[in-house]
Symmetry: C2
Subunit: 223 residues, 2 copies
DNA sequence: GCGAATTAGTCACCTTTTGTGACTAAAGTC
DNA sequence: GACTTTAGTCACAAAAGGTGACTAATTCGC
């Protein structure tokens, strides 16, 4: 099932598989067989007739035995940076995987994002772009909800958001915005997690559409 | 200078060149030489050692004699849709060009976005993605300002925003947000455009950085 | 058993942002 | 001079967002 690197393949599909591992984000890496001691993103030379996204999903299935709960293309990366596959360009995807159900198959290991081994320049650029892609999609798609089990506490949800956004959020603001969006509904279960007061469990149950009703923003970062 | 279509090329760089033509957005198309009566996006089979973005800029220079004022990669498009170049995948770029200075070379024509000729399915998908890319970048980069001459009236600027966003904006809100962002400064010139009161001319002169200071948003379009 | 510590959940207050109609100003048209 | 047209500004209300402080329910140490 493991495809061999085809040195003549003009492009590869590289996938950044991201999970919330405890208190940190982690991505899946594999030891590059073609290169000495280097770690690399899972990748694949897509077969003809195969959709790019389908190729990305197959990479994930091969590495984890499961498909991601959300996938998005990051873009094409060429720019004369070396790549393990020696392909000219990489079409990069990002995929999110709940950590509970995702157990890497042989040869794949989770690495915390804050402490990655050396990667090829191109793949490092891909990982950085993956972070930006996740963050910019976070308010447009319910990707954080699917990183959690089907029921979860609001504190857990907030922790996932803080992890993905890379910043702390105020509890009251977070819950107020969540309520206004009609995205979750409470179950009648509670979970006592050791110390403090037990938390009510919620499930993702979106109820109403948001009106995309806003004017312009001028949020330029560099003038 | 016109590169010939290489049938063995594994991928092509396709460019959506967008301009504000009077009251409408327009994109540049060329008559596909390999296909009977079809129009197509300008494209190029990139040379080895050439950056993807450099290839896109060269496409623009070849078609317009000028490089775009803003360029961004849209992504890679494969998905078994036919393409004039018969390449397996297209790396798509979007580029913005001021209409005043951009005169197409032979074989290239501006088409209003609302009335495009039939394109290949893949290129139609690329054009739609280009629109989304522009709209999502509009509040993060000063691309609207560079579509205009160096001095412009605030009404002209608002019209460009309305064109790119595809929706009307309220005059007072637009100007209030613009002032808060410290992006323009008035000149001491005025322009009388026929009918009503003359408008003051402004120039793009960004002064201060915005704080990326905001909580979460739950703006999902489909639950 | 009891107070301290810890986590969950909510409220109230205030500031900022945003939508919007109405207003004044300066030009042309008739 | 009255009317039309475009520019530019104001002020009010509503909505969104930041924040500290409060109550509630549990465990831990003693």
């Amino acid at each position: 099932m493991r495809e061999r690197p085809s040195r003549t393949s003009p492009y590869s599909v590289d996938v950044v598989l991201v999970t919330a591992m405890g208190n940190e984000l982690a991505i899946l890496l594999t030891r590059g067989s073609t290169e000495r001691e280097r770690w690399a993103l899972p990748w694949r030379a897509p077969q003809t007739g195969e959709t790019l996204e389908a190729a990305a999903i197959r990479v994930a299935e091969h590495a984890l035995g499961e498909s991601p709960i959300w996938t998005e293309q990051i873009g094409a990366f060429g720019d004369a940076k070396r790549h393990p596959s020696e392909s000219e360009i990489s079409i990069a995807f990002v995929g999110l995987v709940p950590h509970e159900t995702a157990s890497p198959t042989a040869g794949y290991t989770w690495f915390p994002m804050r402490d990655l081994p050396p990667l090829s320049p191109r793949q490092r650029a891909i990982v950085e772009a993956a972070t930006r892609t996740i963050q910019s999609r976070l308010d447009q798609a319910p990707i954080a909800f699917r990183l959690l089990p089907s029921t979860f506490t609001l504190s857990e949800l907030q922790q996932v958001y803080e992890l993905l956004l890379g910043k702390r959020l105020h509890k009251a603001s977070f819950r107020r915005a969540l309520q206004a969006a009609w995205l979750v509904e409470p179950t009648d279960e509670w979970r006592s997690e050791g110390r403090g007061r037990p938390a009510q469990l919620y499930r993702y149950a979106p109820k109403k559409r948001r009106r995309p009703h806003r004017g312009v923003r001028f949020d330029f970062l560099f003038p």
